[in-house]
Amino acid sequence: MNRIHPLYIAPFLIVFIVILGVKISQVKVGLHEAKSEFQKALEISYEISKLKDIYDDKDKTLKSLSAILKHSSLKSVSLEQKVVAKKIYISSKSMRKSNLNFLISKLLNGSYTITALEIKAINQEEASLKMEIAL
């Protein structure tokens, strides 16, 4: 007679089911938040990696700059290249305008963070160049 009647267990099960239901709805909210956070993190990480690749890849910048400066069109040009801290300085006291056009078009079409630029006409055919690129 002292054993628990099965009917007494029913209310406990119902209460347990209600608690589980509440817990499930809480976890569902958490899951929804986790999904949106993950989606947001995915978008941001994609954006950051893409932008880092363009503006924050020191090795890639140095490599591609070196390739441009060694280009056959600029072989005759006396170009000075100096890397200080997180910047690279490119300068030429005098270069032909055609060479300048080639260099500038390459640099403007590439993904470099140009922080300073100075072009001064020397005469009808030549100009001087000073340029600062962030690494």
């Binding site: 007679m1 002292n2 009647h5 009917l7 239901g21 956070e37 140009i114 630029l117």
Partner: protein
């Protein structure tokens, strides 16, 4: 009438004429034949549980309407089948001042007494007798010679019954069906909860993996700030390129030329030579067409153009 039986647990013979008595300790109860129906049945079945399934139909003809529970015990070559109303017995017990919590065991007089105990005079009016192997309650006047009520301290029989409190409300079968359904629902809910938590944990782990893979800052706010900074830089660089491209490609007159281009601190300064205020119009139109905002300063034949990025 209540009769003490065991020293360890008090045993009560429950009879319709029993007096009320407040009991504060555990008791064993022997049910008088007035609380149950009993039948001796012979069936070609071996197991008592198989017989139990048939009892509702076996008792159907003799029982008044009510909600009955059934019990069956196997004897040598026959079965002893019982039918009783839980609610009636429980209500009677409660009316006699016994709490259901204090009931240890309940058995039928049939299973407690054997032929050697009977006839047994319960009180002046009633005597327990055995007829054809069935324990019956008869008027005492039928059996003048009967043993006085005395029960030795024998062990309470193992053939006991459990009274179901809600038997008259819900059928036991239904209780188990409902119970099974609730347990199934609990299981499903538990599984769903487990899977949701697993899913959430996997997503959080994948998010942590992203942070590690792309070397992100610890908080989303910091990362958003990084993106904002990069986007501002990107916008500025794109504007710088388009402005420089526009300036370099300006169509200048025969004696007009660009003397210098200077870019520093997000500001572009262009020095034109040979450009007069009146002839600056075509340069202004080109800049306007490209949505470039500028400031201009005229000095003799020199024009200083300033564009803020």
């Amino acid at each position: 009438m209540f009769t003490k039986y065991s020293k360890k647990i008090e045993t009560i013979f429950l009879e319709s004429s029993s007096e009320s008595k407040s009991i504060e300790q555990n008791v064993n109860i022997i049910l008088s034949p007035s609380f149950y129906w009993v039948k001796k049945i012979s069936l070609p079945l071996k197991r008592a549980r198989d017989v139990k399934k048939l009892l509702p139909s076996i008792f159907e003809e003799i029982l008044p309407s009510g909600n009955y529970s059934y019990a069956v015990y196997k004897k040598e070559d026959y079965f002893l089948a019982f039918a009783y109303e839980d609610r009636v017995i429980l209500e009677f017990i409660a009316a006699k001042g016994i709490s259901a919590a204090h009931i240890s065991n309940i058995c039928f007089a049939q299973t407690f007494f054997d032929e050697t105990d009977l006839p047994l005079r319960i009180n002046k009016e009633r005597t327990l007798v055995m007829q054809d192997g069935i324990v019956l309650m008869v008027p005492s006047s039928w059996h003048i010679i009967a043993k006085e009520f005395y029960i030795d301290d024998r062990t309470f029989p193992k053939q006991t019954i459990t009274l179901e409190k809600f038997n008259h409300i819900v059928d036991k079968k239904n209780i188990y069906q409902i119970g099974s359904l609730l347990i199934f629902i609990t299981f499903l809910f538990g599984m769903e909860l487990f899977m949701l938590q697993q899913n959430r944990d996997e997503i959080l782990a994948a998010k942590d993996g992203l942070f590690a893979k792309y070397d992100l800052k610890p908080t989303m706010m910091q990362n958003e700030s990084v993106v904002k900074r990069y986007n501002a830089l990107h916008e500025q660089q794109m504007k710088f390129r388009s402005t420089i491209a526009t300036i370099i490609n300006l169509k200048l007159g025969q004696n007009e030329k660009i003397e210098s281009i200077n870019y520093e601190q997000r500001s572009i300064h262009v020095l034109f030579d040979g450009v007069k205020e009146s002839s600056f119009k075509h340069i202004a139109e080109t800049l306007k067409a490209k949505n470039i905002e500028y400031k201009v300063d005229f000095k003799d034949s020199m024009v200083i153009l300033e564009v803020q990025l």
